[in-house]
Subunit: 276 residues, 4 copies
């Protein structure tokens, strides 16, 4: 059981009446309990709470008049993920996958697994299946990309990244997801808070469906999978943007934090961590 | 109330043990009743029936050993869509959309609405909102594309189509969906059977979310929206491929039909048809 | 006859031995005489002068050791372009084009005229030929793009620009070139200095081959075609980058100027200006 | 000295008056002598012979009225390429390259060396320079691609091929060229006839500039570099299409042959073969 203090402050210069869709609050899941939580807007704005889909994704929606808007979120999340030994985690046969998981085999906007299927198969298709095959993919991504802030933008896809060999956390996750799907492993994008991430920010990582569960991976190696607090899951980053605006507003400040209440004793990468 | 006889026959040369995911059976929805239905495989193979997601999408899954496989589906669908006058159908404000609809604003594999948002806005962003704005988009797509069998392939996206100006039904739908999303109208892909389609085949069309409902559009103008039987809805064609194979099998024959039990009296394009 | 004072100062932090290929000096052509010219490097570095190809393109090459390098160029160019009335300038038939011109019909890195040929033909293919058809293309580009500094990068192509509808001078030129080639008009990229350009910088524009000559166009409308001093021509910007480095050096400063010795009396856009 | 009998027959159904640009005749170069040559059109059409650029590229141009056109070309080419031992062929420093060679460092339509520079550098940038580095690139291309007729089309680029891992001769050459340029080795596309190619067709291969000369490579391994008769060189396939049409004509037949007058005794791949 791990407790993590998370939060973020966002400031916007709202110039026209604008609809905000916020995806910054931690998900409610079987393995992630939100002990306390507080979301405030200044000036006070009426906030609609939404639950989206079956995976615990949440969204806050509000209509904001022109103003200097400050959005403040803080929470304490308690994580109780499944923990397995990597060598015990096999792959699931396509014929045995739950139907709702099959969606995460399809290509998506930033994960063109149809384009990269042959590449994925040639590089990873003949390796023994299981957790360690996904780890091999994440290692490959880690080793072949350079982490460079600002090297990519909101339209960069996995195949762009594979060619240009540089990116940020979102790009690492997209490429690893795409390669997994390319060899028939369902994979999805996770946005969240990562304990002790440097520099602090929202984080993007991934889950692969293995042995009946969703297992966490962070191909950037910037965070321990034991310290990841989920905001939402989706096919790729398109589904879990932390803020989507309809109207006109300019972000002035973004401050994100995530701190372990007590140091985590396990070593990074030694165990297989599942969230569902 | 319209009754349509639909069906398809698929023949495969199965060369290795292969998992088939079939999306060829008509959806069960509030506005579409399946009166009788029959799906047979020859040789006899055990078939798993799945329901996927909240929109009535169905899937059949089976594991097939090497053989000559014939898949035969037939059904009678009774359609009772909502019917409105186009001028009565307004757009829904982003602040009022049901949360589950917001997903269909996101870009997807074949509908890169992030890339085309500016284009969409400049062409259509200033027109009065409502059913007729979507119709204007569909007319634009119809007028700017040539329908050319074989001009595109499974990886062709809406932006490819916008540049090359040619495609098939799936491409027409992808481009219209992308342009709708680009101006803030949720839109989704529909696969189905279309009464009296020439040449007969599975058909791809689209729905836009307007005034609290999903309205049908066929930018190819090849079919009446009153004669469309839904198989499934998705973000784009990636979600509703009629057959996905894991293994090795080669399609040898595809035969699709859809016939109105009695001639439909309404003229095409005169009314706004909604399905949910 | 127009005289223009041109020049540029570039400062680099050279960190390793680096080969510089400079394309900043005005071309020597029949219609452009360089009255005086001065290129200095500080510290003093041996400079090799090269002539490339048949169109007057020049290049300076030097090997620079780690240092703070200042490159200073200034010159006086005297322009004596051909001047015609737009309505007198017809198109040249493919069967009559000089062979060396045909190269400028081929697609190039940033001008994928193969991809955009159908688009070009549908928009412009049926208009009457001649100078005014190219002007119509340039007007279309001007009207459909927004000039936005920083909106594109070194890998942005004409089809990217056509979709995203924004760019800088280089992108405007690439798109206009591509559309010309798409309807069978040879077109090429020109880098140069533009009198009174605001903000001052190197400029990118284009030439189309009409009636046996190369005619100048600036689809950005930022400069008069009577005040353009050519550095070089190429298939697209790839051929005329002002500085190509092999090694490691970081640009610290770029200062460009171009001033008419005496105010030009002609109005912009009233005449057809040819350079070869 | 090798003698090769080459030729091709093309048949077109010409439906409107059409300008043909043919690039099917062997180039005249220092190392390639055309002993006899015959190009006939049936029906008889006036043919204009053009020389394009400094590298021996030739083109035939004609205007053809509607008819059934047969183009017949045959020639005997005598090859006397430079022959070196691979280990003796070093790379040329950027500071020492002839200016006209630098053009072949630039990205081109199908060889986006700007996009793939980082990839190329990471895979090949640290290997010892020279003929064998280019051979390593060609081996990599050979090993990572599958040769599949029909897998690519006229718009397929090197980065497409790198992702999809399949292609034909033109794609193999484009990828190898792109990777060479990416690490600073000038490289160009060559179209030609290849002795004993199976199945017979025009062939596409490449040259890299090393040690002051252009050396031949065929990354498909379908032909010996000692049996390659050059038609033309260019930045990529865009420059040397065997037939470019302006008008309307449909190719009905293409027949290509190339036979060694006497069996070539050398083994493929053992020597470094240069053509200029």
């Amino acid at each position: 059981m791990t407790q993590i203090q998370i939060g973020s402050t966002l400031r916007y210069d709202v110039r026209q009446p604008t609809v905000f869709l916020l995806k910054i609050a931690a998900a409610y899941t079987e393995h992630q309990t939100i002990i306390d939580e507080n979301l405030t807007l200044d000036p006070l704005v009426q906030l609609e709470q939404c639950q989206i889909g079956p995976d615990g994704n949440r969204m806050q929606r509000c209509m904001v008049q022109p103003c200097q808007l400050t959005i403040n979120y803080q929470a304490t999340a308690e994580l109780s993920p499944g923990i397995d030994q990597p060598q015990d985690v096999a792959e699931t046969e396509a014929s045995q996958m739950p139907p709702e998981v099959l969606t995460y085999m399809n290509p998506s906007r930033y994960c063109e697994s149809d384009l990269l299927a042959r590449f994925a198969f040639e590089e990873f298709g003949r390796l023994p299946g299981g957790f360690q095959r996904v780890e091999t993919i994440c290692n490959w991504v880690y080793e072949h990309l350079d982490y460079t802030s600002g090297s990519t933008n909101a339209t960069t896809t996995a195949s762009d990244v594979l060619l240009q060999r540089t990116g940020v956390c979102r790009d690492y996750a997209h490429l690893a997801i795409t390669l997994c799907r390319g060899i028939g492993i369902p994979a999805r994008y996770v946005s969240g808070y990562a304990a002790n991430l440097q520099p602090p920010d929202y984080h993007g990582f991934m889950e692969a469906f293995l042995d009946g569960h969703w297992y966490l991976f962070d191909p950037t190696r910037l965070a321990s999978t034991l310290g990841l607090v989920r905001i939402g899951v989706g096919r790729d980053a398109a589904d879990v943007a932390f803020c989507t605006l309809t109207g006109s507003a300019v972000m002035q400040e973004k401050n994100v934090w995530a701190n372990l209440s007590q140091p985590n004793e396990r070593d990074k990468g030694q165990v297989a961590v599942s969230t569902a």
